[in-house]
């Protein structure tokens, strides 16, 4: 039979992880933020866990699919929000890609999560400044936003660690690795 190739085990894994990330993304979008521009970014926990379990490529798929599917479900596809989200996910993946080049055991969930959060905020800020609000006043917001990113990066790292510990005991993950 020719045509569409059957999904591989890796494809299914990415789909499951992305679905989990999308669910968290949607839940988080439903909660109002006390400060515009600041939210915990818990969906990144799934990206961090994917990276540590299956490598950067899987994490990149999960992160980008989350942005795409999340925006379609929220109705923000191709809107400014979408590009900010995409830029943030891209920045986060690039930042997390640096230590991913090094031996696997050198960096843990905390390091990846903090790097990802800061990369996310940095890229998002750059895009907001370049495309939407090219105003020096915007830079005043960078310090508190970066501080929030660091804090939520730490929180996400701790959650990712707990998630990985839980998963380590399951056969499914052991088999997949």
């Amino acid at each position: 039979m020719t045509g569409v190739p059957l999904p591989t085990a890796a494809d299914r894994r990415i789909a499951w992880l992305a679905a989990l990330a999308v669910a968290i993304h949607l839940l988080e979008a439903g909660f109002p933020s006390p400060l515009p521009g600041i939210k915990p970014g818990l969906a990144n926990v799934v990206t961090v866990a994917s990276l540590l379990l299956f490598g950067w490529r899987t994490a990149a798929w999960v992160g980008l699919l989350r942005v795409l599917a999340g925006s379609l479900l929220l109705g923000t596809f191709l809107s400014p929000t979408f590009f900010l989200s995409l830029g943030g996910a891209g920045g986060s993946l690039l930042a997390m890609g640096l230590p991913a080049l090094l031996p696997r055991h050198w960096t843990g969930p905390l390091g990846y999560s903090v790097l990802g959060a800061l990369g996310h905020m940095g890229a998002q800020f750059g895009i907001a400044y370049a495309l939407f609000i090219p105003h020096p006043g915007l830079l005043r917001l960078l310090p508190p936003f970066l501080a929030a990113a660091l804090l939520f990066g730490l929180l996400g790292g701790i959650i990712a660690h707990a998630m990985l510990q839980f998963l380590d005991g399951t056969d499914h993950v052991r088999a997949a690795r």
Binding site: P99, G111, V114, L138, P143, A147, H161
Partner: protein, 123 residues
């Protein structure tokens, strides 16, 4: 719960902390001390006055004379012949960009500094 740190975790954390501290230092909170004050009335604009020289001014407006005090780097309306006295209740103005006005008397003061600050940012 025990949280084992990998070798690069702590350096990354410290690097992030450094980035945040640097951002705060370089970009600041946005509040810079003012250096001088510009006082305007409906008819004229007074010569800018330095905030480091204490003095009391009497400025004639539409209704009467507003009294403005400059003291230790800050400036305020001390008295004004208006009803609401909002200008007086605005209190001391000391940061670049701070502003107080007595609208009935058409007298306003604006603190200026070496770099300009935005009074509000909307997005």
């Amino acid at each position: 719960m025990k949280m084992p740190l990998r070798p690069l975790d702590l350096p990354i954390l410290l690097l992030g902390l450094l980035a945040v501290v640097t951002a705060f230092q370089r970009l600041g909170s946005g509040h810079r001390a003012g250096a001088w004050v510009e006082i305007r009335t409906a008819e004229r604009r007074l010569q800018p006055l330095p905030l480091d020289q204490d003095r009391v001014l009497h400025v004639r407006g539409r209704l009467g004379v507003s009294t403005i005090e400059i003291h230790q780097g800050a400036v305020r309306f001390l008295d004004s012949p208006c009803h609401g006295k909002l200008c007086i209740r605005s209190g001391w103005q000391r940061h670049a960009g701070d502003f107080a006005a007595c609208l009935p008397n058409r007298v306003s003061l604006l603190v200026r500094g070496p770099d300009r600050r935005f009074d509000s940012i909307n997005f």
